[in-house]
Assembly symmetry: C2
Homo-oligomer: 351 residues x 2
């Protein structure tokens, strides 16, 4: 009575093992082999080694595969080969719009090349980031680190294991995609100088942020060149809230123009200053970085040094995929340009 003898019912699965969850498990190369009368390994080759089997059997197998609606089992494939057609992207903060464009760029490029994107966030913490990265390493072919907070050495260690591409930071020996800030900053500072500003403040981002340091360097250099005084202020977090909190320091600094590490800070700062009755840009000019979604919603709309974030994301993905599939390993640093986008939050100083 164990076998109710289902009469014409479709193929009673012999060993009652793992039917995908409902009844019909999906087809395997063995099913195809049985149908076509060839060996499973031939099916495998037909499906993944172009040219390894004769045109005739290839056709035979492809037809059967289509018929059975076969799809490879990625796990079964990954096991012997180690290839997973998957790569990871770790961002510092998922809710930070800066990363939205990066994520989208990477996802789009991945999809085009038939790769799958796995996402994780580090919550701006170096250790969380490293943990996430380690976890991912087991399951992906490569990794993109956007604005990583961990050590250069940790990154290099990771990179020894599988291909890694870094965005928004330059790490020796690891392929990177970094916005070249100097052009945009130069434009911003010159514009400020031309508008009569003499002292500019820079609100820095996270201490571990390589990009924050670059931007500060750039601001200093540009200010020196334009004979402006530059002061550096610290922020607690690179968020709207952080921007609000830094407002009093900005006021205290006596600067008439301020560049902030990112747009979020700029927006928060502007909100707080306006709430305190300061008129932007008449009394103080504000310039952000990145040109995130929403930067043009504010009143006045935010002047900002734009980084092509979406391009960074897709370039990084492309770099990684080339590394993965391709032969040569260029592994250099890819620099993308930045540019000043003048909107309403910066301008001539009135007073």
């Amino acid at each position: 009575m164990t076998e109710p003898k289902t009469p014409d019912d479709a193929a009673t699965p012999g060993p009652v093992k793992k039917p995908a969850r409902n009844g019909k498990s999906s087809a395997t190369i063995y099913d195809i082999a049985k149908v076509t009368g060839v060996n499973p390994s031939t099916v495998s080759r037909a499906l993944s080694k172009p040219g390894r089997v004769s045109a005739k059997t290839l056709k035979l197998i492809e037809d059967a595969a289509a018929e059975l609606n076969y799809q490879v089992n990625p796990f079964a494939r990954a096991l012997p080969t180690g290839r997973t057609s998957t790569f990871g992207l770790i961002v510092a903060d998922i809710t930070n719009p800066t990363f939205f464009d990066i994520i989208r760029g990477a996802e789009t490029t991945a999809a085009v090349r038939d790769y799958t994107l796995v996402l994780a966030e580090s919550a701006e913490s170096a250790v969380t980031e490293l943990t996430a990265a380690r976890r991912m390493m087991a399951t992906v072919d490569g990794l993109i680190l956007a604005s990583p907070r961990m050590d250069d050495d940790d990154i290099r260690t990771l990179a020894r294991d599988k291909p890694v591409v870094v965005i928004n930071r330059e790490v020796d020996g690891v392929p990177c995609v970094v916005p070249e800030v100097n052009k945009g900053i130069g434009e911003a500072v010159r514009s400020l100088a031309a508008n009569g500003h003499r002292k500019v403040a820079f609100v820095a981002g996270p201490a571990q942020s390589w990009m924050s340091a670059r931007r500060w360097d750039g601001v200093q250099a540009a200010c020196e060149w334009s004979r402006l005084e530059a002061v550096r202020l610290e922020s607690a977090k690179p968020t709207v809230d952080g921007g609000r909190q830094v407002a009093r320091d900005v006021l205290a600094s006596g600067a008439t123009a301020v560049l902030t590490y990112n747009d979020l800070l700029a927006i928060g700062l502007m909100q707080e200053l306006q709430a305190a009755g300061v008129v932007v840009p008449d009394q103080i000019s504000i310039v952000g970085f990145d040109d995130i979604f929403g930067a043009d919603f504010t009143t006045p709309p935010l002047t900002t040094v734009r980084s092509p974030l979406g391009a960074c994301g897709s370039s990084a993905a492309r770099l990684l995929l080339d590394l993965l599939q391709g032969t040569g390993e260029p592994a250099g640093t890819l620099r993308v340009e930045t540019e000043l986008v003048v909107r309403g939050s910066s301008g001539r100083l009135l007073s």
Copy 2:
């Protein structure tokens, strides 16, 4: 001469197979078994079947595992079991901030439960969405569909295969997480009525959007209740640009208050109206939906019917994970509340 006899060199890998990419491949349960002197199956059980082995050997194995820095190979595990500790999230548009919070909510919940999130986007297309979903099904344990554009039937078909949770839409027989719009809409419409408005327009979203239909229903019902006239307008795309484009229709409609399918539309609409010299909210009130990032950056800040997007994301993930791990299958619809957030873009009609 095939075996160069490397003397004290660290373990020459016998078969020159697949060293993780550099030299040292990662440890397997076999390595642990060798070190501890037990059978691999015992190691497997120790690591995944709590209580199946004695406390003593468990300790032994755990120590060895820590020592060797062992991590399970997810693929090897997935092969026999079918479980992958992974779930997919498909969103209509990655760049739409509405989804940011959903993504984050889901990612966070996933991480807590040691699951990995795989992300894909459908670009607002039903077919792309279905394709992506099918592809994912092979590699994930379950799927979250945020604002799906495909047929109910397609969704149900998918759901027969693996657990599926839907956000922002109600599909019979599939667990869903939907914001209950009526409360928020009621508040919005009453507030509008109280401010002297008599005719309100609703700018609809994508035709396939279930949520857009719900919102329109809600607006109609609330308007009827408050004895207001409601007209429906169509938008080309549920984006800022779409909002801009619909501005002339809004003006032509003669409505003095407008609710839009989402905040993006509201923002675009407001920008365009203001550019045309219309004063918001004095001449026209605007109310959005969702309360996305940036909704409070505008001038005036946007009044909106907030949906708890982050909560939707994490609830959906929790639902899915419960379904996956848990025993019972509740599979109902989870309703979350919405509320009106009054900011500056709505108010008393002056004229």
